[in-house]
Symmetry: C2
Subunit: 150 residues, 2 copies
């Protein structure tokens, strides 16, 4: 049971933008920081933009920024948007299931309960909750100079 | 976010065996009922056997049966056994993660909470809970004659 790479990168792009609250970031910056494909991150940014999680400032000096404060971006909502497939097993889609038991089986209900519990747990977190302590995260991404010990 | 086909088939094989409490079943029977690969189901049976969920009776007239009553087989336990990969995102495995944020990021903790909630929800179900009403399920699998309306 894994989240898709698309969701993984979506969360990481949001965290990257949360670390630059005063400025704009580019896809290139984020891709370099994480060592991931710029093309893939572009697709991620397009979807996050369509969903209002991020916004694009066009023109010279433009870039990306969060669409609203990090404390107003729920992690459950992000994952509901970015994960394409919540059909835990084939029979989640009864019309297309080939399982002979599908009409009577209670497995689907049990797994739906579990999925609800999973997303509810994530609804307790906002993007801001993931960013503590943000200074050490900025340092890890090279967005802030390392501490100089005197 | 999906469970693997291996887990899907594991649950279905257990349900098949739960529908035959008085007799033994064969891989061939179960594979035919579900229209799935006999080879794949054999691998599933091997793992379920090693974990004690099912047992094999060898020899002529032998076959498979549940290793303990369906009411004592927890669905959370089955899924913990059959799902190989609970690393929700790459950084669940910090030693192998390439994400620059891994040392400071709280995403891992949030996703671990959610996974715990998911499995805890499944811990409330046993195999027996999924088998109600078992008579209509037996009928769907052709293990019982259809009701004759007079």
């Amino acid at each position: 049971m894994r989240l898709t790479l698309h969701t993984d990168l979506s969360l990481r792009l949001l965290m990257f933008l949360a670390l630059k609250p005063d400025g704009l970031a580019t896809i290139r910056d984020a891709a370099e920081c994480y060592g991931v494909s710029r093309n893939h991150l572009m697709k991620v940014a397009t979807q996050l933009g369509e969903s209002g999680f991020i916004e694009t400032v066009r023109g010279r000096g433009g870039g990306l920024r969060l669409g609203r404060p990090a404390a107003e971006i729920g992690i459950g909502d992000v994952i509901r948007t970015t994960e394409e497939d919540f059909r835990m097993v084939a029979c989640f889609d009864p019309g297309r299931s080939t399982c002979a038991l599908a009409p009577a089986c209670r497995l689907r209900g049990a797994l739906a309960d579990a999925l609800w519990a999973y997303l509810s747990a994530l609804d307790k977190y906002t993007l801001a909750d993931l960013m503590v302590p943000d200074r050490s995260m900025r340092r890890l991404l090279g967005l802030e100079d390392p501490v100089v010990r005197r």
